[in-house]
Symmetry: C2
Subunit: 192 residues, 2 copies
């Protein structure tokens, strides 16, 4: 069911034994989503988070009819509206797939049960949250300190594959600029 | 050493027994800081985080010589540059006390040792991180979706004490506006 290389990655990420991974995986449900599937609408409460086996999931806001991308999740990441999932309150942002996706989904209830059956899960989730926190803080910092060009160069350095997988207008709103400005930045950077 | 009401609060937050709290507290060091003490400079690496017994600590950025407040930590919160502390890489923001502070400090090394001696700490730190993540995500969302007036009203609702404890120019940069605009918003809101 779960491909071997992914099992290997999970083993490395968690430090769990095969037996422990077996216990944990029972709480997850494999799901497939077509490209452009809405996983969560703004105003709803996140019931699940998704460990991505294949594909790309986007977190975005809508403001005055304009769609603003905030984050892109790819393989071996836990995608989701963590803030809504943690608090079980309504989300102010939405989530959708931007490619066909294979995921392992875990519901809020299942995760709480897993913490009780298998307390070691706390350590793993702590580490996942640390990564997500650092990533969100980098984004927050970049919004305050960096120019769009600096943010583009950082994306090119840290996650170059996104520039091919994600539509240009979504990359542009992620950088806080128009597609025309993005195109100018790309040309400028390409000439350097 | 640690006041009774704080011990009670720690007990409620963690669900630990008195014995367990005793173990955990051994890893913390009580420290006192005068108002306006720099706890971390931008460009340095965070060696400690602080559980605040008394006082207020500010996280801020410097951009083109302008000081931009990003977050205020108060009593019973863990204050710190979590992103730098977690990754043990240099921080892009600074931290300072804005009141005289009594804290319990824990170093990165001590926390790693505590995770090993007392694995239950993972659950508590997971919960602390969840709170911090949600709080940072709210701030991130507000920057995208809310006007300065909406952000001011939210601060007034959620953390009204900050408006008395924190200098007005710091509240202004936190809201992304000038002190003059803040003063206008305050007057407008007071008249409603």
């Amino acid at each position: 069911m779960v491909p071997k290389d992914i099992l290997q990655a999970i083993k490395q990420m968690t430090g769990f034994t095969d037996l422990e991974i077996g216990i944990v995986l029972q709480y997850f449900e494999p799901k497939n989503f077509k490209k452009k599937t809405t996983l969560l609408e703004a105003g709803s409460t996140a019931k699940e988070v998704y460990f991505i086996l294949n594909g790309c999931i986007r977190l975005f806001y809508e403001k005055d009819g304009v769609d603003v991308s905030a984050y892109f999740f790819t393989e071996k990441m836990f995608a989701g509206a963590y803030d809504s999932f943690i608090t079980q309150k309504t989300s102010r942002h939405a989530i959708e797939t931007i490619e066909d996706c294979q995921v392992l989904a875990i519901s809020y209830k299942a995760l709480q049960a897993l913490f009780i059956e298998f307390p070691k899960m706390n350590e793993f989730v702590r580490k996942v949250l640390e990564e997500r926190f650092v990533s969100l803080h980098e984004l927050f910092t970049a919004q305050i300190l960096d120019s769009p060009e600096e943010r583009y160069l950082n994306l090119l350095k840290e996650r170059p594959e996104l520039l091919h997988r994600v539509p240009q207008h979504q990359i542009a709103t992620y950088l806080g600029i128009t597609p025309v400005s993005l195109s100018r930045i790309r040309n400028r950077v390409a000439k350097k």
